[in-house]
């Protein structure tokens, strides 16, 4: 299947991700886990939800989509961050071991929100939020202050993360993932460590911001009821366990 065919075949316009027959197998202490993605297509600006209990392979898929985890085998894995650009063959990058180029793609096009903080403890909130912009060499243009205002953390900008509550740190993490205007934001259970009320508020802010900036979102969550209000497209997945429970296999498609 050619690249052109694949994008034309999709009804929702330009594809950011085109994934076919990607498998990741992990094995430790005799217990194997396998993630299979027969087909996954994500269009530019789409808001995707990946819902499932912990251990089902959500994070594995997110890491593959963020180019920080090498798939075991690949049918096709294309990434097109720019609407007018050519799709990039991610499998070729991995096979050639061009990890620095993968890093450059992450730096330029991706924002990643982790389950807990992932903030650098030695930088202030402002510097943490500015990290991606800083390494990209983007100028100080008030973006950080504006984002902090929207996320309700403006008064914390000059503090170190250790002075902040868990919820506030998650807001900083979201701010950092958005500050450099990435094409895609990947969020791995960004509110799992928060109380439901705070979680809801933060997610609402998050969705508002990505809508405003027209960013593609891939969000993992362990419970659909937390996010069903947010208007996300839910990916389907099925998880099987072998009878001796030594093999878990998850199949995702959408």
């Amino acid at each position: 299947m050619s690249t052109n065919n694949s994008s034309q075949a999709h009804p929702r316009g330009a594809l950011v991700y085109y994934v076919r027959d990607v498998v990741k197998t992990r094995e430790s202490e005799g217990v194997a886990f396998r993630l299979k993605v027969p087909s996954l297509q994500i269009a530019m600006g789409e808001k995707i939800a990946l819902v499932g209990e912990s251990g089902c392979g959500k994070s594995t898929l997110l890491d593959i989509l963020a180019f920080i985890l090498k798939p075991s085998s690949v049918g096709a894995f294309r990434f097109r961050p720019e609407r007018d650009g050519d799709p990039l063959d991610m499998d070729a990058y991995w096979k050639a071991g061009r990890l620095n180029q993968l890093g450059d793609l992450r730096k330029r096009y991706l924002g990643y929100v982790m389950q807990t903080g992932g903030l650098l403890p030695y930088l202030t909130v402002r510097e943490n939020m500015d990290l991606c912009r800083n390494v990209l060499g983007l100028a100080q243009d008030g973006t950080i202050e504006h984002l902090a205002e929207q996320l309700g953390i403006a008064k914390h900008l000059n503090k170190l993360p250790e002075a902040l509550s868990t919820g506030e740190r998650q807001r900083v993490a979201i701010g950092r993932a958005l500050a450099h205007r990435p094409s895609i934001v990947i969020a791995d259970e960004p509110t799992a460590s928060l109380d439901p009320y705070a979680a809801q508020k933060i997610m609402a802010h998050f969705m508002e911001l990505v809508e405003e900036l027209n960013i593609t979102v891939i969000l993992a969550s362990h419970a659909w009821r937390h996010i069903k209000e947010l208007g996300l497209r839910r990916l389907h997945h099925r998880t099987f366990r072998s009878e001796d429970r030594n093999l878990t296999e998850t199949i995702v498609s959408g």
Binding site: S59, A66, I68, N100, G103, M114, G118, C132
Partner: protein, 403 residues
Amino acid sequence: MGVPLRKVFALASRDYVHEWQMSVCFVLALAAVLGPMLVLFGLKFGIVGAMIDQLIEDPGNREIRPVSSGRYDRSWLESVRRRPDVSFLVPRTRSIAATIELSSEDSSRHVRVELIPSDQGDPMLSPRGDRPEGVTRIVLSRSAAEKLQVAAGDTLDGSLARQYRGQKERVHLPLTVAAVAPARAFARDGAFVSVNLLEALEDFRDGRAVPRMGWSGDRENSIRTYPSFRLYARSIYDVAALRDAFANLGVDVHTHAAEIELVQRMNRNLTAIYWIIAVIGLFGFSLSLGASLWANVDRKRKELSVLRLVGFRTMDIAWFPMVQALYTAILGWALAVGLYLLVAGVINQMMASQLGQGQQVCQLLPHHYGIALALTCAAAVIAAGLAGLRSAHIEPSASLRDL
């Protein structure tokens, strides 16, 4: 397009400062190794240096004297004098004839002095003072000058006697004090005089005529030989080679070579011991810093993964332990130098009473500090290299969670 090095430096520095307790520990650990090493080297350098200085300062250490008297003629002596490792050589006349009785107007005493042959460039005489010249200008030893109560410029009467054809004869000759020699030049009553004068006195005592002095006697000696000579090597390091050269010529000489060799051997041995200690110390420091940096990579796995995630390249990440190790090296070195200066000051203060002016037991030259810094940085960079290699191989996916 990697991350600019400036930014990597800035981040690594912020991390180093933020974890100041850790950083202080590293710096203290380094200073604890490097400080005593500097003191040790300072002591070695200071003590051996002072010993070598003493050897060099006293030209007597460069003297080479024949053990027994021989018969050396002018041309042989001239050939020895032309050797590049010989700085000064004058022939000696027979010592039995090399005395004279001196008297001055200010002192009633007659002083019998030994005469030492001298010439331009005599290392025992002050380089700025006047030389003995001709048959009238002589340089008195300190003790002789004191007994005669004379100073430079004063005149003396020299007199000597001989038995000639059954008659006792005495001659007088006017002498001028050209200078008074430093005390260490000659401890007894003596005078540095030209070889010409000594030859004249020897001839007179032997009953020969010395026409230029107006002394009559038998006819002049045709071929003169000398029983001995005064010789000084160019430097203390040439003494041993000269001694061996004389031994090959069949001339047994007395030298200070043994003392010089003792100091040189001590210097070599102490240097060897010092370097063994230094290498073990630096190796130990390198290992301990390496281990801490290595463990640091584990501790900071998540933070490094975050940097990886936002697009830091392999090399950018590897710079982190490198920059931080260099901070430790430079700060630890500075602290060690501070410690050294303190301890060296105390040691030198304690020893001040036993030392000459300007002498120091514990001493380092500026370039020693530079070498210490370079070695420390090298050890730190090697230690950090391993940790850097490890941090560069962090797989962000495995490290972002579970920790």
